[in-house]
């Protein structure tokens, strides 16, 4: 490529009037070994462009989101929490129920014992009556 036409292309390049094809010519010229000394400052620019285009993404891309896992994990955790609260509440209710029944039963026993004691007193009196009767009718 003639030097004059490279200079003309550079001028157009700076005004952003070059086509992609013309810019490719410039890139080619400035990555070659035969660069005019007064244009050397452009060399690093065009080599930078050429090198930069070669950089690639090295990390593999995943389509399934990691964030979804967190979402499901939190849903699972809340379900577990709900179940445990529910069963815990049930247990508490059952215990309260059992305590109530126990207290009632104890109350009944108390009642029974009291009446039994009354009966004992009556029997003791009967005993007394029996003894006196035996004394009299010997």
């Amino acid at each position: 490529m003639e030097l004059a036409s490279i200079e003309r292309l550079l001028e157009k390049y700076l005004n952003a009037e070059t086509t992609i094809a013309e810019e490719k010519i410039l890139k080619q010229y400035f990555t070659s070994d035969t660069i005019a000394p007064h244009l050397e400052e452009y060399q690093s620019l065009f080599s930078y462009f050429t090198i930069s285009k070669k950089e690639e993404l090295t990390k593999p891309i995943q389509l399934k989101s990691q964030k979804m896992n967190w979402k499901w994990l939190s849903i699972a955790a809340s379900v577990v929490l709900l179940i445990s609260v529910y069963t815990g509440y049930n247990d508490y209710q059952e215990q309260k129920e059992a305590e109530k029944v126990y207290a009632q039963t104890m109350g009944h026993f108390q009642f029974l014992a009291e009446n039994l004691n009354k009966g004992n007193v009556a029997i003791a009196q009967l005993q007394h009556f029996e003894e006196t009767k035996n004394k009299i009718f010997k």
Binding site: E17, E41, I51, S52, E55, L57, T58
Partner: protein
């Protein structure tokens, strides 16, 4: 759209997405995350992709917007990206760039350009898109793309000449 069909449509430009994200976000890790995030989004919207004339242009627009959002939230939390803060993975590019100081100097010059110009340089001079395509991707007029590109190229050229004349960066 089936998975195989989807992959055939979107995988060819994954490196372009990655390079664009890296141009804006600077660090390789951030760019990898951004690319990953973009592909989730494309996959989620796979039903709509058929409506777009160019899925690639659509993906580039999404990448640009996503990276701008990332940058904004970074600035909001006062965590501006400073290139030297990142330990880069040893990519082939990195090694090549280190071999040539003046080439890495170009990288810095582009880094200092305004965001819009950075994008246009990336899309035109590196990815070699036509002006019409770039205009669509960046949601601006083709003439505005040209004006910005010309400005960016002239800025870089002036800086390069300065460096060349003084022999220092």
């Amino acid at each position: 759209m089936k998975q195989s069909e989807f992959l055939k449509t979107v995988m060819p430009f994954k490196d372009k997405v990655f390079r664009l994200a890296k141009r804006l976000l600077v660090s390789t890790e951030e760019a990898e995350d951004a690319t990953q995030e973009l592909y989730f989004k494309l996959w989620k919207n796979k039903g709509k992709l058929e409506n777009y004339k160019s899925v690639e242009a659509f993906a580039m627009t999404m990448t640009k917007n996503y990276c701008f959002d990332r940058l904004k939230s970074k600035q909001a939390s006062n965590l501006t990206l400073v290139h030297s803060n990142y330990k880069e993975k040893d990519t082939p590019l990195q090694r090549k760039v280190e071999l040539n100081d003046s080439v890495s100097h170009v990288h810095k010059l582009i880094e200092n350009l305004p965001e819009q110009q950075k994008l246009i340089i990336q899309l035109r001079d590196i990815e070699e898109y036509e002006f019409e395509e770039i205009a669509k991707m960046l949601e601006m007029k083709p003439t505005a793309v040209r004006v910005n590109l010309s400005r960016a190229r002239k800025t870089i050229k002036e800086q390069l000449i300065k460096q060349h004349n003084y022999g220092i960066s």
